[in-house]
Amino acid sequence: MTTNKGLLVVIPAFNEEIVLERTLTALLQEVSVNQVLVVNDGSTDKTSEIVKTKNIQLLELPFNLGVGAAMRAGFQFALENGFEKVIQFDADLQHQPKYIEEIVTQLDNFDVVVGSRFAGKSNYRVSFVRNLAMGLLKDSVSRHIGKKMTDVTSGFRGANSKAIPIFAEKYPSEYLADTVESLILAHDQGLSITEIPVTMQERQGGVPSQNIFRSTLYLFRSLLVIIATLTIRAKKGK
């Protein structure tokens, strides 16, 4: 059990009633009950009820806003309640609670810590198109922040007390941009970023988002994100 005071694990959840119970149970073996916040992103199922039975903190968004906006709400909550470290955690238990401790430790030295699925020990595989998109994204981001990143779209990440107020105000809400753009934002705001290798678990339920059509769409959105955020922000930074 991690005893880190001031840690808040934020779980954005959109219609996750099937897996949430198991995720929370697994998570609570690692952190205590008042260190978890579920942001119900406009679910129409029993997501909120499950959270309430566990006596876990809950934010209920009135309608679906996307992961980025849900995280922004989480950061605002952390800021208002004096939490010093925030870890974003997936509701479908793809992320493994055992890495939380390492992220927390790294947050003493770095402002933003990303759990990378591709750094070293992982066997995480994605489709060709998605792989291409992810490659483009990570190269662009790596060049921009001047540090080799292996996984810029990972949703398993942490932020410390220097990063929390910035993310609470500006965390991007557009799909895909939330992960990639937030790293650019962090860098441009003078935050330090690092990665730790993590392995993913198979999804425990819910609908996976991988078919050729969506992957292609993903590629196009990636290009758009690169063009929009990187070129413009790079100029602003100079």
Partner: protein, 111 residues
């Protein structure tokens, strides 16, 4: 169009529609001004076609109608773009309200 009456009537209808919408409070002045300008310019173009012809000539359009179509298209594009940026801004504001509401609700439940 040799007979400007139809066009003038259309412009008048647009102006009436805009004014009525302002009175009912369903149209913000910002957009009202834009639509009024569109209506005024199009009726001016109908009443004084020679101006349109000479401007079209100077700009190198063979037919004045082509010139008018281009202008109309540009204005329509500009207006839709303006609406897109406005919607994006509103989206952001709605998000902020929603997150704030969620946090306030959480506070109330904890009391």
């Amino acid at each position: 169009m040799n007979n400007p009456i139809i066009a003038i009537v259309m412009a008048a209808v647009i102006i009436a529609l805009v004014l009525l919408s302002i009175r009912r409070g369903i149209l913000k002045e910002k957009y009202a001004i834009l639509w009024l300008l569109v209506a005024l310019f199009s009726s001016a173009a109908v009443i004084f076609p020679q101006i349109v012809s000479s401007v079209a000539n100077t700009l190198g359009f063979r037919l004045p109608s082509n010139f008018l179509f281009s202008i109309a298209l540009l204005i329509a594009l500009f207006l839709t773009f303006l609406l897109s940026t406005d919607i994006s801004k509103k989206q952001r504001q709605i998000e902020n309200l929603a997150t704030e509401l969620a946090i306030i609700k959480n506070k109330l439940n904890n009391k």
